[in-house]
């Protein structure tokens, strides 16, 4: 299994009450389970099947992913900025592995 490495981009600085655009990308093959290897055996499915972003303990977006999401899943969405600074990103992989990263919003 190749390394699962999240990359997240938040705005440099945000103001409370405004929407902040968040860009996330996680390195992952997103193996669909439809491909065959050179000897004709089906390569088992191994994808990120769920992605969540929580801000200040509240859900921002909860995404269900299928095999039709490209390799290295990219997701872009908006957070409604309040007082909290912690943004928690979580990726759930087939087979139960979970990858979490926490980032800080700079409010000001």
């Amino acid at each position: 299994m190749s390394e699962v490495k999240p990359r997240i981009r938040l705005p440099r600085s945000v103001k409370a009450g405004q929407a902040a655009e968040v860009k996330t990308l996680v390195s992952h093959v997103m193996e669909t389970g439809l491909r065959k290897d050179s000897s004709g055996n089906i390569i088992p499915r191994m994808i990120i099947n769920r992605f969540t972003c929580e801000y200040g303990g509240e859900m921002v977006v909860d995404m269900a992913l299928e095999g039709a999401i490209s390799a290295n899943p990219y997701v872009e969405f908006d957070i409604m900025v309040g007082d909290a600074t912690d943004v928690v990103f979580t990726w759930y992989e087939d087979g139960g592995a979970v990858y979490t990263q926490t980032e800080q919003l700079t409010i000001g």
Binding site: T32, V60, V61, M63, I69, E76, F77
Partner: protein
């Protein structure tokens, strides 16, 4: 006699908006019905931003937006499995918009179905022409 090619060239804009939603294949239709629980789906209210022509079906950028929606589901009716993604917007969401990159096995309609907080559903579709398919043969 108007050929298929001419028709496509002629009415891309109009056809994309008016005709394509009716052409969703049975597989995508079933998947959408499973998502909506068989509820009626009205046309419009969902904006899909996707390229008209995607050179590489392995990674096609798509943005969906539906003001006020609780959820938006994306379907690709020409893929081996039509389901693509479901976005659920939580209380901390700053908009009802999300972007991602998807795989398309060939030229096909991409359908976005929005679930509104009152339990109603709206949908829109766009056709994306794919030069190289993205399902690995």
């Amino acid at each position: 006699m108007i050929t298929r090619r001419e028709t496509m060239a002629l009415g891309l804009g109009v056809a994309t908006i008016t005709l394509l939603p009716l052409r969703a294949s049975a597989a995508a239709g079933d998947a959408i019905a499973a998502y909506t629980g068989g509820a009626a789906v009205t046309e419009g209210g969902v904006m899909i931003t996707a390229p008209e022509i995607a050179e590489n079906g392995n990674t096609v950028p798509i943005t969906v937006e539906a003001p006020g929606a609780a959820e938006i589901a994306i379907y690709a009716d020409g893929n081996p499995t039509p389901g693509v993604a479901v976005f659920k917007f939580g209380p901390a969401a700053g908009s009802n918009r999300a972007s991602t990159r998807i795989r398309l096995g060939g030229t096909q309609d991409v359908v976005a179905v929005a679930k509104m907080p009152d339990g109603s559903f709206m949908q829109a579709a766009v056709e994306v022409k794919v030069t190289i398919g993205g399902c690995g043969g």
